[in-house]
Amino acid sequence: MIRILALLLALLAGPVLAQGTLRIGINEDPDALDPTTNRLASGRQPLTALCDKLFDVSTSLELVPMLATGHEIAPDGLSVLLRLRPDVRFHDGEVFDAEAVRFNLDRHLTTTGSLRRSELSALDSMEVVDPLTLRIRLRRPQAYLFLIILAERSGMMVSPKAARELGERFGSRPTCAGPYSFVERVPQGRIVVQRFPGHWNAAAYHFDRIEYLPITDSTVRLAALRSGELQIAERITPTDLPQLRADPRVAIAAAPDLGFHTLRLNTGNGPRGQVLGRDPRIRRAIEAAIDRRVMVQALFDNQYVPGNQFVNPQSQYYDPGRPVPGRDVALARRLLREAGAANLTFTLLVPAERERQEAAQFIQAMLAEAGITMNLETQDNATMLQNGQRGRFEALFTFWSGRPHPDGNSFTHFSCQGPQNDSRYCNEALDRLLIQGQEATEDGPRREAYRAAARIVADDRPVIVLWHRRTFTGLSARLQGFVAHPDSTIRLSGLRMQ
């Protein structure tokens, strides 16, 4: 008896990690794992293990081949030819070919409640040239943008057979062509996948099994990493970094992140759009009263990047003509006087989330010094989304997780009909530029279009961009081969324990 007890104690004290299993702590429980309907950022983590995409993006956001080995864009930008990787099989043994790609894109377009349809709306028709070649014709000449979209969830290929058999329940048994196949899921508990020996690049994946564990509390996620239960913990809070640096058991990987925080101002959505929408000087005054650098310093230990445009200041699409402005309280007061809004009062809706609650109180205090009264009202996310849509707000504290192509950060937000445009901001010149950006296949013209668009948004301020995140991933010190990506998605190839 005593010996058994001793044995148990020894087991307990030993490393919890079973050889060959990689345990990853993610920050929220993903929604259904179907590439067509998945929408949460956290869903991308397990989906990356399960479902290979046609393309991937590199750390510098360039298109790289995955299930598609190559592509040719027609000179008119209205069609694109995809060359597919040979000898690829889905987890259920089905063959991956041009027909499968066609099935998948069609599925995105026709499934009820598909969240991929709008980003694929340019697709006109598909033609299977041969089993490994597919021609896609587009309604508008936006081939480059289209390809980038195929490097996101729209490009994830599922087994047509499994999709037909499982129908709506596909998300509970995802069957794709990724390096890992689905084992089980305990909702809110864990998602388990195992190595798929038939993967086209199986040699690059070393762990036999991966467990994704949703641990919402960042302090606990960190603790689980430090105690050795996790080998990877995503989204480490910047202020927890010193704690990690002091611990030899763990390492940190950092990368710029596509996500950014904004104050969305109501410029024309219903009567409440009058308060901040009636004069751009009012919005400029709000921006002038905010000190982004101080906030980033105080809230994030200087680890985030102050920003004022819908792309990061390091991005090629950032307009250098509109650098991040410093704080100028006198200017703010003067602008308000000129706009006849000397005693400006408005309400900022803040979601029930700590980080933004803290930041909102900072902004409130800063605006107060410029004579602006900003009341805070906390609302749960669903309430806030609806109030945003219906124009029952003056300002919203929003976050956008960011997209590799600047179109994903701008068109839905600022074009007159954009579904995320809760401000109901509308500027036809801007719309034209955003479409130019979509249709540009060359770097130069695309850059010019987005810089010009960024300038308009920065001057009109339907949103005030505050800062761009950086992503910090905590790693076991023994884990090798990890590369941090700006989209915060953990790539599994090359990962191994030392």
């Binding site: 302090t219 960190l222 105080a298 700590r354 205090a365 009202e377």
Partner: protein, 287 residues
């Protein structure tokens, strides 16, 4: 009848007060609670800093000569916020309790005295109340009535009502079968008299204990509600919301949790000791 009722509380009140005065622990606890009340009333005079003033360049600073309890996530003085937070937190700790006790006593009496179907129906209602998720009620109230502090207090009081009802009813039930109650009924005492003279005293101890426990829960619940948009909105300080804010910084800035946590603890101990004293003083049989 009216004369006896008028007489009884008077003599009993005097006895209770005399009894209370004899317990040094109870007096100390009363002094502590009174001190909290005074702090709440004179908060602006006592607090060294403005509880809303942020110092952007001194966030999450550990305790120092200037800021005795450190600064919080927005660079505000923790001590001043604890002092000002007394106002909301005392209210949050006391008003919902009064609501719950006030409503549960009559309901519990009726259920316990009448028994049978009346009891069964009332108890199923409390079962159902327990099953309604507090979160939904909170979001609904916030949406329909706005972030008003009174609504938050009412919500907390109502949410804890079933516990009080069950305790009250259980205590009433327990004495219903006692010989002296049977005897009183036999000599034709009115239900009102039986309820007030015999059942009520038996209900006091468990309700007092629960009330002094609930103060702690209510103070913390106030913060959860304000986080969902019901009740005091930031930047106004309350102990519960200070604790809430501290959670993200548990490791890097532990002092943010310790100060509000400690005052809640002290207040809860004082209220419990006070409750014990009151319980003893009310306990007729001991004398």
């Amino acid at each position: 009848m009216s004369a006896t009722i008028a007489m009884a509380p008077d003599t009993r009140l005097r006895r209770v007060l005399r009894q209370l005065a004899r317990q040094p622990g109870t007096l100390l606890a009363a002094a502590v609670v009174l001190a909290f009340v005074l702090v709440a009333v004179f908060a602006p005079l006592i607090a060294p800093f403005d509880p809303l003033r942020s110092n952007f360049l001194a966030v999450r600073r550990p305790p120092s000569d200037l800021h005795w309890l450190g600064t919080d996530e927005v660079g505000r003085d923790v001590l001043s916020r604890v002092i000002h937070g007394t106002r909301i937190s005392l209210m949050a700790g006391v008003i919902p309790v009064l609501v719950a006790v006030g409503l549960s006593v009559p309901i519990g009496l009726i259920a316990g005295y009448r028994g049978g179907w009346v009891d069964a129906v009332l108890m199923r209602i409390t079962d159902a109340m327990l099953a309604i998720p507090f979160l939904i009620v909170a979001i609904a109230l916030a949406a329909f009535l706005g972030p008003d502090m009174i609504n938050a207090m009412l919500a907390i009081g109502l949410a804890s009502l079933p516990v009080f009802i069950r305790l009250a009813r259980g205590a009433a039930l327990a004495v219903r079968a006692e010989d002296y109650v049977e005897a009183a009924r036999a000599v034709g005492a009115s239900p009102m008299r039986i309820a007030l003279r015999h059942m009520l005293p038996n209900m006091a101890p468990p309700l007092l204990v629960q009330a002094s426990i609930m103060a702690a829960t209510a103070i913390i619940a106030e913060a959860s509600l304000s986080f969902l948009g019901l009740g005091q909105q930031p930047p106004a300080p309350s102990w519960g919301s200070m604790l809430n804010a501290a959670q993200r910084h548990m490791v890097a800035a532990p002092w943010m949790a310790i100060a509000p946590g400690l005052v809640i603890f002290v207040l809860v101990i004082a209220l419990n000791v006070l409750g014990d004293g009151l319980r003893d003083a009310l306990d007729v049989k001991r004398h």
